[in-house]
């Protein structure tokens, strides 16, 4: 696997969510994603960046532009050191919300990408990784 670009974005303000969206869009364009695929990836990243900020108390996004054989993709990892998620399966369900939102964040983001992984330890934080391939 070849990594063409590797960036880290600090996520501690609402403005940083917009910056994260723009960088994810740039990476998707760089990989030749269709407009629909770009939009899906950027939307998933926006949901997760907001989770990192609101629920995780801030953190960072790590973005990689990757080539695996003939496949071109983008991977984004969202890391926070917040309270963690006690029951991930429960949190993935649509309608689950801990802060009065619509509860579409995690489950919705998962439907928009090809690969989705969450690890979380209560009291230590949460890491969510998404990948979308062309």
């Amino acid at each position: 696997m070849v990594i063409l670009r590797d960036d880290r974005i600090d996520l501690h303000s609402v403005e940083s969510i917009i910056k994260a969206r723009q960088i994810v869009r740039d990476c998707a364009i760089m990989q030749g994603f269709s407009l629909v695929d770009q939009t899906k990836l950027v939307t998933a990243a926006s949901e997760l960046a907001r989770n990192t900020l609101i629920h995780g108390g801030g953190g960072e996004m790590h973005i990689e532009v990757i080539i695996d054989g003939a496949r071109r993709g983008v991977r984004a990892t969202f890391v926070d050191h917040g309270p963690g998620i006690p029951d991930i399966d429960h949190a993935m369900r649509d309608g689950y919300t801990s802060k009065g939102g619509l509860g579409l964040g995690l489950g919705g983001a998962k439907r928009l990408v090809n690969k989705f992984a969450v690890t979380s330890t209560v009291g230590e934080g949460t890491t969510v990784t998404i990948e979308r391939w062309r």
């Binding site: 609402v14 939307t43 919705g108």
Partner: protein
């Protein structure tokens, strides 16, 4: 601070979103729009999102809130100009914007608003004239 302009056209308000929506811009828009609906006694709001390249659940909720707030103030909202890629993504995200009226462009949206004014979109006008 960035602001979203609200234009008055007869008894309707036109809101064209062309900036990247962040949280404060969104909250300011809700406040100003509800103020202007009351001040101008507006019958409808056209919310043009043709310049918006992504709608996540936060922005989707904002659109739903604007439609609900307007309705409570006796003005209907029609969302116009949604890009196809945004529509596909929103539905997959799980957000089909129930209760929000849409039209393909400003012209069609305006026609819909005028038709609503005549017949009563939610039935109240129709019942009143019975």
């Amino acid at each position: 601070m960035e602001r979203i302009p609200i234009l008055k056209m007869g008894s309707y308000l036109l809101v064209t979103i062309q900036v990247d929506m962040h949280d404060r811009v969104t909250m300011t828009l809700q406040d100003e729009l509800t103020d202007q609906i009351v001040r101008h006694k507006a019958h409808g709001v056209l919310l043009d999102i043709s310049g918006v390249d992504m709608v996540d659940s936060f922005i989707g909720r904002m659109i739903g809130n604007i439609a609900a707030m307007s309705r409570v103030l006796d003005a209907e909202t029609v969302v116009v100009g949604m890009r196809p890629a945004v529509a596909i993504t929103l539905v997959e995200l799980g957000m089909a914007l129930p209760g929000v009226r849409t039209a393909l462009n400003v012209d069609a949206g305006m026609t819909l608003l005028k038709a609503c004014k005549k017949t009563g979109m939610n039935g109240y006008f129709a019942r009143r004239s019975d």
